[in-house]
Point group: C2
């Protein structure tokens, strides 16, 4: 098999340990407060090895962003698929999937919010982050399409729904990282998200 060829598994392991070290440090200390040296030290690798795989700290963040977004969208797709036609069950699964792994979600909210602020002050970074987020929104729109079709929501609503869901999720997580009150988040989503997935009244 090709990926057992000399080099390939080593590369995969190296990238995985850089990403894991970056994830831990960004979440615990903050994106700005973390240096590439600290990441290399936590991953037990040299700076030269880091730069073989990532151009800079921002590139490492974008790789983490892509990996996390892939997992989240896959979780939502799977929740919708496994509900097999029952719109209420699909809604409930989607809600639950947004709040699965809450410690991971908390860490992600911290890291991604800090990176968002960095991008707001750096046009080149803003462009790259926007491109990634647009791709995520397109996948989310496809994932939600079966629920929207069953509920009769129109195309305009379907196109705006990913932005709405991502904004609501990020805004609620931003409150939750401070209050650590998950029950309020869940109550707000349960109260307001189902209507958002239905047709406009």
């Amino acid at each position: 098999m090709a990926d057992l060829a000399k080099g390939a598994p080593t590369r995969t392991r190296t990238v995985a340990s850089i990403m894991s070290a970056g994830w831990d440090l960004f979440a615990n200390k903050g994106f700005h407060a973390t240096s590439i040296d600290q990441i290399c030290s936590a991953a037990a690798l040299s700076r030269g090895t880091f730069y073989l795989h990532f151009k800079n700290k921002e590139a490492l963040f974008l790789a983490l962003f892509e990996q996390h977004a892939e997992r989240e969208v896959a979780r939502i797709e799977s929740a919708i698929t496994s509900s097999a036609g029952d719109v209420d069950a699909a809604l409930l699964s989607t809600l639950e999937s947004l709040f699965a792994n809450s410690e991971e979600s908390r860490r992600w909210a911290m890291v991604s919010t800090e990176f968002t602020l960095a991008a707001a002050r750096d046009p080149a970074l803003a462009e790259r982050l926007t491109a990634f987020e647009d791709a995520l929104a397109a996948r989310l729109e496809s994932a939600l399409a079966p629920i929207l079709e069953r509920s009769g929501a129109g195309a305009a609503r379907a196109a705006l729904l990913p932005t709405f869901i991502v904004a609501l999720h990020e805004g609620l997580m931003l409150q939750q990282v401070v209050t650590r009150d998950r029950s309020l988040t869940r109550a707000v989503l349960t109260e307001f998200l189902p209507q958002a997935l239905g047709p406009r009244q």
Copy 2:
């Protein structure tokens, strides 16, 4: 008049110039990257004068938070009052009031989000921020009460609405500070907020 007594106007002017300098520096450089020395230098005051009025940088932020929240809630109250009974007009005014002064909103989103992240890593700060946000939510709930009563929404929805509106607003602003695309924000609010203010379907 009491506030013309010796000292009072000077104190008011001093506090106002510290707050104005803090607001500019926090928005442009970031909360963490700004030092008290820089604030004093921008306000043309000594460190001793700063500490007569504020315990530390966090106390200055909390004063700015309170001032901004007061203004926002007053704007929403006024939009609702001036619509005098027309629920659709009140909704539209509320939407517009959320996005009035968009450059100020952008600066505020940057500053408050960074402070939220700091509070998430500091329990004492988290407690103070949460107390302020709870007071803001209570005022917002009162301000929105006339719209909710007319639309027939129940008490449970009324209690959750401020959290929903604040989360949606913060989440959308977090996207907008990066994309600088205000039209998408407006489209999402127009599509989803009116239903949120009506009874549960």
